[in-house]
């Protein structure tokens, strides 16, 4: 008798587990499926969409916002938000253009802008952790300051006349992949490994889940907060450098609005502003979905204003369905 009851128990358990798995698989795969469906539809509407030219273009477009979105994701996982990523990208674009025009070598330039990004990021971390300013306001402040400083140093003018070996970087292909996309993929893989397999990555989730519990369990909240914002600053600065090579000029207003696109990409990719939730792969796919919409709009000659509306609707739809699913489970 006891035996029967055990088997029944096991059976119902595995059944339950089976449906759980199917649901989990579906929810995990739904995002890539959405992207794939978008591509297939686009191909039927305009076969040019899958041309090598257009795809490399799409890759380059996505690369820069994708890197910024990865930066944003790290911060969102800690239950923070970083509104200064776009401004950091802008100042990095201007500084790297100025350095390169003045004849500084590429490597020194990269090192310099990484330092600038790190400083802005750690400043954000200090404002959030030490000064206890809510992340939204802290980074709104640094965003405004950094953007102001960018306009000041560049006099509000576009800086052009970059050496040709720099502008070539963006046109290179590595293993048949546009260099910018290649860099995005490397950063994405490193980022995904970091948040999954390193102590620092686990710390990000821990403080995002409950800062108090994490601290009382021995997590160094200060270093983790500095780290999250610091890396976000560095990645944004790298994105700024890449944008400069792509556009062959330093643009003081570059990256305006990127902070919001980055947040949207992260959220479409499964990150939650409540913290402790988010994935790098998801964010990259989220960035691709957004840039595919824009690219498709261009190809099909849809008014960009409508595209804007479509992106907003998409964002709300994704979050709504996510909520719906959570409520069911």
């Amino acid at each position: 008798m006891e035996k029967t009851s055990t088997t029944v128990g096991v059976k119902s358990y595995s059944e339950k587990k089976g449906t759980l798995k199917w649901n989990a698989w579906l929810s995990k795969a739904s995002l890539p499926l959405v992207l794939l469906a978008m591509w297939v539809v686009m191909f039927f509407l305009n076969p040019n969409f899958l041309s090598v030219d257009n795809l490399s273009n799409l890759g380059r477009q996505t690369a820069i916002i994708g890197i910024v979105a990865i930066a944003q994701t790290l911060v969102i996982i800690t239950k923070g938000i970083d509104l200064s990523v776009g401004a950091t990208l802008g100042i990095s674009s201007v500084i790297s253009a100025q350095l390169l025009v003045s004849g500084t070598s590429v490597w020194v330039t990269i090192l310099a802008i990484i330092l600038v990004g790190l400083m802005i990021g750690v400043l954000n971390g200090m404002l959030v952790y030490d000064a206890k300013i809510t992340p939204f306001i802290a980074t709104l402040g640094t965003m405004t300051i950094v953007r102001g400083a960018t306009l000041l140093t560049s006099d509000g003018r576009i800086i052009s006349g970059l050496p040709s070996e720099v502008t070539k970087i963006a046109e290179l292909s590595i293993l048949g992949i546009p260099s910018l996309l290649f860099i995005l993929l490397i950063i994405a893989v490193l980022g995904a490994l970091m948040i999954r397999y390193t102590v620092f990555g686990r710390n990000l989730f821990s403080i995002g889940s409950s800062e108090e519990s994490a601290r009382l369990s021995g997590v160094n909240v200060r270093i983790t907060t500095y780290g999250a914002y610091g890396i976000a600053g560095v990645l944004s600065a790298i994105a700024g450098f890449l944008l400069t090579t792509r556009l062959a000029s330093g643009i003081p207003t570059a990256g305006e609005g990127y902070e919001l696109d980055a947040i949207a990409s992260a959220v479409i990719g499964g990150a939650s502003l409540f913290g402790a939730q988010g994935s790098i792969i998801g964010t990259v796919i989220g960035s691709f979905i957004m840039s595919t919409l824009r690219n498709a709009g261009n190809l099909l000659g849809i008014q960009p204003f409508w595209l804007q509306i479509a992106i907003g609707v998409l964002l709300l739809a994704v979050v709504f369905f996510d909520q719906l699913q959570k409520r069911r489970s």
Binding site: K16, Y197, V199, R202, S206, S209, G218, V219
Partner: protein, 508 residues
């Protein structure tokens, strides 16, 4: 006076003598557990009536029934002689019943007037009539015995004045029965005296007060009668003048029998941790004790005795102002949780949901949150190792779960708490501080936590088991330290565990 019989009861609604409120054989159960098993409670005009009992004795349930938050399963409530089967919340004001909760429930960001008259602000042409409002507020404040500018923001007042504003708010509704829930919990000594003066004045004006408190001396200082509840039963109602201190304590705590089911004596080793003259005013002062390896020490005291703060002081979460701590014979200055953890101290905080676990995170992450740094290699987490570690812990602690990836939020409270305690099980952890580890969890989980505490002692570790529930401390501890009002007021070895003596020390 017309008499309504809501319950269809016959002739029950007659006016009974002089009582304002008469609760008759009130029964209330929650999911089959009885919180009140037929309790009578009566309030007479112009008296201060103490309602006493330990946590879970049924005081809150009784008050919630009296204020309409719960409906009793059985019994009836007579207010001014009128019988009710329950108190309709909307009529509470008309019935003249008003409550001041321990946390006051004031809106700190707005003025005294808006708080006192909340929901009753006088209006003129659809706008607030500030002049009339001020007059009404002044009247209420005067009745409560305080003189304040009605436009002062509540948050700018000191806590004692806020308390009185809360009382004024209650009185502004012409209450003749005022229920005060632990009114002195947040007050300093001289403010307590001031509050007592105000309460005595109120009684002269014909207000009756139901006074809920843990503090015995306050009962003798201000109350006329006392009713004691224990385990949902009423023990008695007596005139305070006929009472002795010991009689009161015994009625509240009852006889506690030591339960030896779980207890196994462990081999005592050297000193693990000692504390000398530790101070953190106003929470605790001049605290000294020492604990050996292989020992579970119960830290017993009422709520507000300073136990949590003391544990946090030892853990480095709330730095002590002065005093010495020694860990394994070496001087140790607790400065931060992460430093204390590195030295082998673990801490299970009182509030599991905000300080204990990581919500929305998988069980295996929660089980490893205190140790993943020490398991890591060159900054990389060892996922497989962590999972095995988590599985072993969950097995040891008898945790019921469906998968390691399950979020901890999905577990029952007891199983959550077991994971929170389990995360400290690691060779490095030498001293474990448990703050009310069984609060709000079921009996089975409670026993598992007892067993783990004993097991840790067997392994030569030390446990400080802090609780305001005596039976569980008597069950698990080798030794009991009693804390009252920030001081250690008693120490008992297991052979000399005596419930009355321990209780007396706790009320000292």
């Amino acid at each position: 006076m017309s008499v309504t019989t809501l319950n269809g009861n016959l002739k029950e609604g007659v006016i009974i003598g002089t009582s304002l409120i008469h609760m008759d054989k009130i029964v209330k159960s929650f999911n089959g557990t009885y919180a009140l098993k037929g309790v009578d409670f009566e309030v007479k005009p112009g008296e201060i009536h103490a309602l006493l009992g330990e946590n879970g004795a049924g005081k809150s349930t009784l008050i919630k029934i009296l204020t309409g938050a719960y409906r009793p399963d059985k019994g009836k409530i007579l207010v001014n002689g009128k019988s009710h089967s329950f108190i309709p919340v909307k009529e509470l004001e008309q019935l003249g019943i008003s409550v001041v909760y321990q946390d006051l429930k004031l809106a700190p960001g707005v003025s005294v007037m808006e708080n006192v008259l909340m929901g009753n602000l006088p209006k003129k042409y659809g706008m607030v009539d500030y002049q009339k409002g001020s007059e009404m507020t002044n009247k209420a404040l005067k009745k409560a015995g305080i003189n304040l500018n009605p436009s002062t923001l509540v948050k700018s007042l000191k806590i004692a004045d806020q308390e009185i504003v809360a009382i004024a708010k209650a009185l502004s509704k012409d209450a003749n029965v005022l229920i005060l829930d632990e009114p002195t919990a947040l007050l300093a000594e001289d403010d307590v005296q001031r509050l007592f003066d105000i309460l005595r004045e109120l009684v002269k004006k014909g207000v009756s007060i139901v006074y809920i408190s843990h503090k015995i001396e306050e009962v003798f200082a201000i109350c006329n009668r006392a009713t004691v509840l224990r385990d949902g039963n009423k023990i008695w109602t007596k005139n305070v003048s006929d009472l002795s201190n010991d009689e009161l304590i015994e009625a509240i705590s009852g006889k506690v029998h030591r339960n030896d089911d779980v207890y196994t004596e462990s081999q005592l080793g050297d000193e693990a941790i000692s504390v000398q003259g530790l101070n953190h005013k106003p929470y605790y002062s001049d605290v000294s004790f020492q604990i050996n390896k292989g020992e579970v020490v119960g830290l017993f005291g009422l709520i507000g005795a300073g136990k949590s703060e003391l544990l946090k002081g030892v853990f480095g979460e709330m730095k002590a102002q002065s005093g010495k701590v020694k860990l394994n014979g070496e001087a140790f200055k607790p400065k931060s949780p992460s430093d204390s953890i590195k030295r082998g101290i673990g801490f299970v905080p009182e509030d599991r949901t905000t300080e204990g676990y990581l919500p929305r995170m998988p069980i295996h992450v929660n089980a490893n949150v205190a140790t993943y740094r020490s398991f890591s290699k060159k900054g990389f987490i060892r996922g497989g190792f962590e999972r095995e570690h988590a599985l072993a812990l969950l097995e040891d602690f008898n945790v019921k779960y469906s998968s390691l990836e399950q979020h901890i939020d999905g577990l029952s409270g007891g199983n959550q708490q077991k994971v929170v305690v389990a995360k400290w099980i690691h060779p490095n952890t030498k001293v474990l501080l448990l703050d009310e580890p069984t609060a709000g969890i079921d009996v089975g989980a409670r026993r598992d936590i007892f067993k783990i505490s004993r097991k840790l002692a067997d392994e030569g570790k030390s446990v400080i088991y802090c609780s305001s529930y005596l039976p569980e401390i008597m069950e698990v501890a080798d030794r009991i330290l009693v804390m009252s009002d920030g001081r250690i007021t008693g120490e008992f070895d297991r052979e000399s565990f005596d419930d009355m003596a321990i209780m007396k020390a706790a009320y000292k």
